[in-house]
């Protein structure tokens, strides 16, 4: 599948944003946030800015962005529609969370309830996003039990990293969030490795023989495609990445998205230059996850390209 930057941005940025939102609610509940009137509202705005940026980016992917509002109508059947609805309904409670917090302070039960609702809705949004991919039967690398949990894990992981950075920036000290980020990096990294193991072992969905109904005639090979130059289906779905290249990028992802942030989160948790460590961790997480998402597309094969021998 073609890794379109708008979609890569959408999925990674909303992960950061809604992941952060979820952790803010949890930390708020547990009293793990700085005792400041301002921290949470700022953090929520940061979270929403990330999510919003992702959503705006996704609009760029549309052929008719001015009609984007229509995407809210089919929530009964379409995960994309649900994603849209969920992402929007996350905003009011999230804003309420921030505003009430600001007005009433960290003890506001209503604020925390709103926060928990917003956090949950954020995660629901991420889940909806993940299900857009996980539900697509023609793409085996997406349509599997890993996709949805992975998206949730990566959102929580990136949210934790972002929270750790915000806390370090605010307080200049080590924080619990860094520890959470460390744990999340390890779990997310393992999940990614498990995913790769899974897709590498997975048999293809179909063969050209079953795609053409010619199973009885032996192996089927393409002779001539309908045209020589690329078409929409091939541009969109025929993107292929060389194994060698993919392996290299996978190593980079493991390093940049998980290993390095884990080490840096550990440092931050230990109080060794927490701000710098969290900042670098966040930057690498972003870069790593963006690459991870790129690979998630680039390594995905669409069954329709069988017809073109790809």
């Amino acid at each position: 599948m073609k890794p379109a930057s708008s979609v890569l941005l959408l999925t990674t940025l909303t992960g950061f944003g809604y992941g952060l939102l979820a952790w803010l609610a949890v930390f708020a509940l547990c009293g793990g946030l700085p005792d400041s009137r301002w921290f949470l509202p700022v953090a929520v705005v940061v979270a929403l800015a990330f999510a919003g940026a992702g959503l705006v980016a996704s609009m760029l992917h549309l052929g008719r962005p001015e009609r984007a509002w229509r995407a809210f109508s089919q929530w009964r059947s379409s995960w994309l529609s649900r994603e849209g609805v969920a992402s929007l309904v996350t905003f009011p409670p999230a804003l309420g969370f921030a505003v009430l917090w600001w007005l009433q302070g960290p003890d506001s039960a209503v604020a925390i309830i709103l926060g928990l609702i917003a956090g949950a809705l954020g995660l629901v949004t991420v889940f909806c996003t993940s299900m857009i991919y996980a539900s697509l039967k023609p793409i085996r690398q997406w349509h599997n039990p890993h996709t949805a949990p992975d998206y949730m894990l990566f959102a929580l992981f990136s949210g934790a990293v972002l929270l750790a950075l915000l806390l370090a920036a605010w307080t200049g000290k080590a924080s619990m969030a860094a520890l959470v980020a460390l744990a999340a990096a390890i779990i997310a990294g393992i999940a990614k490795l498990a995913y790769w193991r899974f897709i590498d072992a997975q048999p293809p969905l179909a063969t050209l023989a079953s795609a053409t109904g010619l199973k009885e005639y032996g192996e089927v090979r393409p002779l001539d495609a309908p045209h020589f130059t690329e078409n929409y289906v091939l541009r969109e779905m025929g993107y292929r990445i060389a194994r060698k290249h993919a392996a290299k990028l996978r190593r980079f992802v493991v390093f940049a998205a998980f290993l390095l942030p884990a080490v840096l989160a550990a440092l931050a948790a230990l109080g060794a230059a927490p701000l710098a460590a969290s900042l670098v961790a966040a930057l690498f997480t972003a870069l790593g996850l963006f690459t991870e998402r790129w690979l998630f597309f680039a390594e995905a094969t669409h069954v329709s390209t069988l017809y073109y021998g790809r």
């Binding site: 008719r64 697509l136 039967k137 023609p138 969905l205 079953s210 795609a211």
Partner: protein, 242 residues
């Protein structure tokens, strides 16, 4: 509605039968489809760099050719590919806007270009690569089963069939109602063992493909000569007994 309709008990199930035993791969159906549809319901079907380096365009029907098997039993198969108007099409259910829909009355899967936002998700959901994106209009397009021909009352009855069917020079394409066991398409499928493409994906395509077959002529063992002389005698026999 993006959710799949519950077809009425007497609804039609319209679609195509494509006979791989007869298709010579001439691309007539593909070009005539383009010609009809570029001015039809889904007008236009744009072309990019029409005289340039990478010519490309929107086609609702594309013709592949494949080789199957090896050695003397191998075959060449020409293979037209267009929307199969699936009974269980995910291209419809994924659509966030309802632009992509399956019609209750005849099962035709269509895109409403007036509300499509061009998110392309339906094309990702189609295992058959049957959806075509109009980059200039920013909307998805696809085979309409020639909705503006098959019900077109300005056409004589006999011409109310899809353009690709009407034009196919070897008559490898057939159109009809699969819910009517007496229709030509139902009978062909029954008689010739029509198959589904990628049944394992569960889309339940309506269009069916008829597999290639092999006619043969049984012969009796032949008398075979022992040299020119004998054969001439036998010929003489034949010639004399005329």
């Amino acid at each position: 509605m993006t959710s799949l309709p519950q077809p009425a008990p007497n609804a039609k199930k319209l679609g195509l039968v494509i006979d791989l035993d007869t298709c010579v791969g001439c691309h007539a159906c593909a070009v005539n489809c383009k010609e009809w549809n570029t001015g039809g319901h889904s007008a236009p079907l744009p072309d990019h760099q029409p005289y340039g380096e990478e010519p490309d365009g929107v086609w609702f029907n594309r013709i592949h050719s494949f080789e199957a098997g090896c050695g003397s039993s191998s075959k060449t198969v020409n293979f037209p590919r267009s929307c199969l108007h699936c009974e269980n099409p995910q291209c419809v259910t994924v659509c966030p806007t309802g632009a992509s829909y399956k019609r209750e009355e005849d099962g035709i899967v269509l895109v409403n270009a007036d509300i499509c936002i061009g998110c392309k998700l339906c094309s990702w959901a189609c295992p058959y690569g049957a959806r075509e994106f109009d980059e200039l209009a920013g909307v998805m397009k696809k085979c309409t089963l020639c909705i503006d021909r098959i019900y077109n009352e300005t056409l004589p009855e006999a011409e109310r069939e899809p353009a690709c069917v009407a034009t196919c020079p070897s008559r490898a394409r057939h159109f009809g109602d699969f819910n009517d066991p007496e229709s030509k398409v139902s009978k062909l499928v029954a008689a010739r063992g029509g198959v589904d493409l990628m049944p394992e994906l569960g889309y339940k395509p309506v269009n069916k493909y008829l597999p290639p077959r092999k006619a043969s002529i049984p012969t009796k063992p032949q008398e075979q000569g022992g040299g020119t002389g004998n054969a001439l005698l036998r010929l003489l026999d034949k010639v004399l007994s005329r």
